[in-house]
């Protein structure tokens, strides 16, 4: 790696000051993407700002709604009883990103900022209606997660802006969510395609639904039409199939070493269907 300096601010203000005076700095959380990319020469900087000692970025607080600090490692998410109970799908997603060693370091905030089309956590965050809390010197803004990624590896953060946390609203009663991906092995792999869904039921009727896909577009893909088509419909196999086909139609995949575009489109329907079934069961039991 090329030479860089290192700063580990203890407060958010200190971090923002440092970042404002070094707009080309790189922010480090778990480092499981950044250090790999810097070593490969794909990213360069003269300053790395380690965000792990900033209290706001380490906050994990669940009181129905969830505040997920941007540097909280995956292991803390699936070890937290309150999170596991309120957001089981999020705990599950945190346990399939990389292996145990990666989960001890990698954060969901980092997964979001890295903006990979294949990021496992992002479709679920979108389905759950999560927002990104972004802070800069002198202000802050909040952005829906579906608007955060702009291209492969690119996001809306401007120099000097820092992702502090991800906010997930409290799910309505009788809600369920699920993320499913397809990988050719059991673990430690990148999604060929993935589907994150969330549904809310009132009796046998779906009253709200959100669906998002991984690895089938330049960014994680929010398929609003597929979720909207479920609203007011009975929670039946027929409704689920209809939404799954809408998700498939919305996918814009490429062919690469992981799979062909056709195969990925096929997977979108299968994964959306299966994820919806699981989310509906969860909502019925909630």
């Amino acid at each position: 790696m090329k030479w860089f300096d290192y700063s580990a601010p203890r407060t958010l203000d200190e971090a923002l000051d440092t970042y404002a005076s070094h707009p080309h700095a790189r922010l480090l959380a778990g480092g499981t993407d950044l250090l790999v990319q810097m070593r490969a020469g794909r990213k360069e900087t003269d300053l790395v700002i380690d965000t792990k000692r900033i209290p706001e970025l380490n906050e994990l607080h669940c009181n129905g709604a969830l505040t997920l600090g941007a540097a909280v490692p995956c292991c803390r998410i699936y070890e937290d009883a309150a999170v596991k109970s309120a957001f089981p799908a999020l705990a599950a997603v945190a346990s399939i990103i990389g292996g145990i060693q990666i989960q001890g370091r990698a954060s969901i905030g980092g997964n979001l900022c890295n903006a990979a089309p294949s990021a496992d956590s992002i479709p679920l965050l979108i389905a759950l209606g999560a927002t990104a809390r972004i802070v800069y010197k002198g202000g802050e803004r909040s952005v829906p997660v579906e608007d955060f990624c702009t291209a492969p590896g690119q996001n809306i953060l401007q120099p000097g802006e820092l992702l502090v946390s991800i906010q997930i609203p409290k799910p309505e009663p009788h809600s369920g969510s699920h993320y499913l991906r397809f990988i050719p092995r059991n673990e430690m792999d990148i999604a060929v395609a993935g589907a994150g869904v969330a549904v809310t039921l009132n009796g046998g009727t779906i009253t709200a639904a959100r669906i998002a896909l991984a690895s089938v577009a330049p960014t994680p893909l929010f398929v609003k039409a597929a979720g909207d088509a479920l609203v007011g419909q009975p929670a039946t196999e027929e409704s689920v199939n209809k939404a799954a086909l809408l998700a498939k139609d919305a996918a814009k995949p490429i062919s690469d070493m992981r799979g062909t575009a056709d195969y990925r489109r096929h997977l979108c329907a299968v994964l959306t269907r299966r994820a919806l079934r699981a989310a509906i069961v969860q909502a019925q039991e909630a």
Binding site: W3, D5, Y6, G30, V36, R39, D50, P73, G99, Q101
Partner: protein, 161 residues
């Protein structure tokens, strides 16, 4: 600026100060700056697990940790697993079950497996395989490694009883 940084940390129970460049990984600091070469470099991008160390009670791939991040932390490497000349039951089981051939992956497997047994003394085979998914071995086909971990778990359980 290009100044080296002094890092104060604890490695295998001993307080250590070392000087490093911020760009050096913890793996490089251990091997090149501190001459603790038990921790191995494999892929150097977090996939193979050969460089696994324990950092504040959690296993991490030390190639994806900066040496400067070790400031004030507790690190256990493969050098800290045996007690003097007394091998840890995991080390003994790896030998007895022939759970290694070339040996490059072994320190990582043992540090990772120890973290599992420290928290879950009686893991299922599935759990062991899942836990060790971030450690690659190109020689053994894994079965012997899994058997060694199971044997060590049994030995540790017996010692407690």
């Amino acid at each position: 600026m290009q100044n080296k940084v002094q890092v104060h940390t604890t490695i295998n129970g001993e307080e250590v100060d070392f000087l490093c460049e911020p760009r050096q990984s913890l793996l490089e600091c251990l091997r090149d700056n501190l001459n603790q070469t038990g921790t191995k470099e494999g892929c150097n991008d977090g996939n193979c697990g050969a460089c696994t160390v324990n950092l504040d009670g959690r296993i991490v791939t030390s190639c994806l940790v900066l040496g400067v991040e070790a400031e004030g932390r507790q690190i256990t490497t493969i050098e800290g697993i045996a007690k003097g000349n007394q091998l840890h039951p995991l080390q003994r089981a790896f030998l007895e079950e022939a759970a290694l051939q070339c040996g490059i992956c072994t320190p990582g497997f043992i540090v990772a497996a120890k973290a599992l047994l420290d928290h879950e003394p009686n893991p299922s085979e599935d759990r062991i395989r899942w836990w060790l998914a971030n450690n690659l071995c190109r020689c053994t086909g894994y079965d012997k490694i899994i058997r060694a971990v199971q044997k060590a778990a049994a030995v540790l359980q017996e010692a407690k009883a």
